[in-house]
């Protein structure tokens, strides 16, 4: 039995390891100072980088987090602490459904509501699309984390005369903070690599980001566009972009683990 489980775990790790190794081998040669500081150049000209796409991805993810984190965490608190009525199971169910909606559908919905209304592709639309994908993840992980807080803590706080609001703020949230932060960062890492919803919303750009109502560059869309051109130079940049993106996602995930450890360290 032990042998079987170890074997299965080993096999499960093979794709992860091979992705990291392969992307590393293909992507490393593309990375240099120019890659991180320059704008893309036209086809057939040597050099050029994807600095705008790196910055663009960061802005898009921050924008999405700015929208989804407050909403998602508050929804999670509602579900865990207040939702004793019939509304809560419905919200929970809708969250689960939303988690399962393919991201390309989210892209099309935001395209037809935001992009067609504004009559332009924009960073804002991209941020909204990513936020919609993040929202249910954050809400559900927050709820799960709050549920892990022992009931006796709440009771103790209430018994000391604290209001429910005070209890949630000072006791429940404080205890679950590590888990909530981890959930939020994992959700952030999850949307950083989304391509499909951005194709319909933020699109892409050759230039530095100039405003939330303008198109914005992003690493996933550059990978998609460049890998489908006939040119070796662009393929190289696409591999570089893939490595940077994977590192960013991996970095966020690791930071999330460390954050969880650190917060729970006082236990």
């Amino acid at each position: 039995m032990l042998f079987l489980t170890v074997l299965a775990t080993g096999i499960a790790l093979v794709p992860l390891a091979s992705i990291l190794v392969y992307v590393g081998i293909k992507g490393l040669p593309a990375l240099n100072w120019e890659f991180f500081t320059q704008l893309p150049k036209a086809v057939g000209e040597p050099g050029g980088g994807l600095a705008n796409a790196i910055l663009g991805t960061i802005i898009l993810v921050l924008l999405a987090a700015g929208i989804a984190l407050p909403l998602g965490i508050l929804t999670g608190i509602y579900l865990a602490e207040f939702g004793k009525d019939r509304l809560a199971p419905t919200v929970r169910f809708l969250c689960d459904v939303l988690t399962g909606v393919p991201s390309i559908i989210v892209g099309i919905v935001v395209y037809s509501t935001v992009v067609l209304t504004m009559k332009r592709f924009s960073a804002l639309a991209g941020g909204i699309a990513l936020a919609i994908i993040m929202l249910p993840l954050v809400a559900r992980s927050t709820e799960e984390m709050l549920r892990l807080v022992p009931h006796s803590l709440r009771e103790a706080s209430l018994a000391l005369g604290a209001t429910q609001g005070r209890t949630i703020r000072s006791v429940v949230l404080r205890s679950a903070l590590g888990g909530i932060v981890t959930g939020a960062m994992l959700a952030t890492a999850r949307v950083a690599g989304e391509t499909a919803p951005l194709l319909f919303t933020a699109l892409n750009s050759r230039y530095w980001p100039t405003g939330l109502d303008e198109r914005i560059a992003s690493l996933p869309v550059y990978i998609f566009t460049y890998s489908t051109t006939p040119y070796e130079d662009l393929h190289r940049l696409a591999w570089g972009a893939a490595l940077v993106l994977v590192s960013m996602v991996l970095g966020t995930s690791i930071a999330a683990r460390l954050a969880a450890k650190k917060v729970n360290g006082g236990k």
Partner: protein, 371 residues
């Protein structure tokens, strides 16, 4: 579980980090915006304009080159073009989410009927579609006739050593192997050109399959994009597929010589593509929506097509409209010299003249931008 001051510190640090990050990103936005606006002063007192386009992936390398070169000449004009596919280009110009669209296939009448205002088709360059294959020991030079190509893609010719292929290629040792057809699974201007050609040369194809950016293929494996078809062909011995010329040349794919209307076997090159564009130019319709497959001319390669930029005749914004008209004017004249390096066939002289007339129709409230 205990609460201690570390938790509180963490919380604050996190909020602080988030605020700093947000502020930095906004500052980044702000400063680059100013950079963008600083340029017009150097280029006289003209206001800065930004134009957004999207569409066909086929001309993406050329358009990105044009945009970069044009920016050097006119620093106040910032143009962005994104490759999202021909259908995307048509949809977005119809929805008015872009200043110009781009498509390899001219818009159909029913699509044009959906447009809120008149749309101009402006050919920018021509490209060719090549037939590539995977046969051990055989490089470029397999000879094919239109009838044989149609029968292969219809599934009527099943083996490489079929007498109809071997009789065309007496010098080649063709194997006793199944022919595996690879085609595009996504909507594509390349497919439109190829199926348009097959519909012209084969009545059976026209009746059974027809033409369009995506069709019901009678046989074969679907793959996404030129890279998908090329990959499938490379990995499958006995495979045959079609990709755009630039893709085949950049990736050293073998390609077939095809018998044209004049009865000559023609290699796909820039010159033979230009010859095809010229051969079809004589009967170019007024609206420039034309198919140039199977053209006249001894040197004309028969599977070729124009790629188009789509713009509204009546522009809503004077500044943008003027910048767009001037850019397009530059593209069909000075811009043409960049075409060959990137393996596109420049426009024939008489098509440039017709395109000029089209650009002159672009106007703001009745006043044309270029007289």
């Amino acid at each position: 579980m205990q609460l201690n001051s570390r938790d509180k510190g963490w919380c604050k640090a996190l909020v602080g980090a988030a605020i700093v990050a947000l502020a930095l990103s906004l500052a980044g936005c702000g400063s680059s915006k100013q950079e963008g606006k600083a340029t017009p002063d150097q280029a006289g007192q003209q206001a800065s304009v930004s134009l957004n386009g999207a569409g066909a992936s086929f001309p993406y390398p050329l358009y990105s080159k044009w945009i970069q070169e044009y920016k050097k000449l006119n620093p106040q004009v910032t143009i962005d073009y994104q490759s999202i596919g021909s259908s995307g280009g048509i949809n977005n110009i119809l929805q008015e989410t872009v200043d110009f669209g781009a498509s390899d296939a001219p818009m159909k009448d029913e699509q044009l009927a959906k447009a809120p205002k008149a749309i101009i088709h402006l050919p920018t360059v021509a490209g060719a579609v090549v037939i590539t294959y995977n046969l051990e020991g055989i490089k470029s030079g397999l000879k094919l006739t239109p009838e044989v190509i149609a029968d292969i893609f219809l599934g009527n010719i099943k083996k490489w050593n079929d007498t109809r292929i071997t009789s065309l290629n007496p010098d080649l040792q063709l194997p006793d192997k199944e022919i595996v057809v690879a085609h595009r699974s996504d909507g594509s201007g390349t497919t439109n050109i190829f199926t348009d050609y097959l519909s012209k040369v084969s009545p059976t194809w026209k009746e059974k399959v027809g033409s369009g950016t995506s069709v019901q293929w009678p046989v074969g494996i679907g793959a996404k994009g030129n890279e998908g078809v090329a990959g499938t062909v490379k990995q499958t011995p006995g495979a045959i597929g079609y990709v755009e010329l630039a893709y085949a040349v950049q990736n050293n794919l073998p390609y077939a010589l095809i018998k044209n209307k004049a009865g000559k076997f023609v290699e796909p090159t820039l010159d033979t593509t230009t010859a095809a564009a010229a051969g079809a130019a004589a009967n170019m319709p007024e609206d420039m929506r034309v198919s140039i497959t199977d053209p006249q001319g001894d040197d004309a390669y028969p599977i070729a097509g124009y790629t188009y930029i789509l713009v509204y005749k009546d522009q809503k914004d004077k500044l943008k409209g003027e910048a767009l008209a001037k850019f397009l004017w530059w593209a069909i004249h000075d811009g043409q010299k960049y075409a060959k390096d990137l393996l596109y066939a420049p426009l024939p002289e008489n098509v440039v003249k017709m395109a000029e007339a089209k650009i002159k129709q672009m106007n703001y409230q009745g006043t044309p931008f270029i007289k």
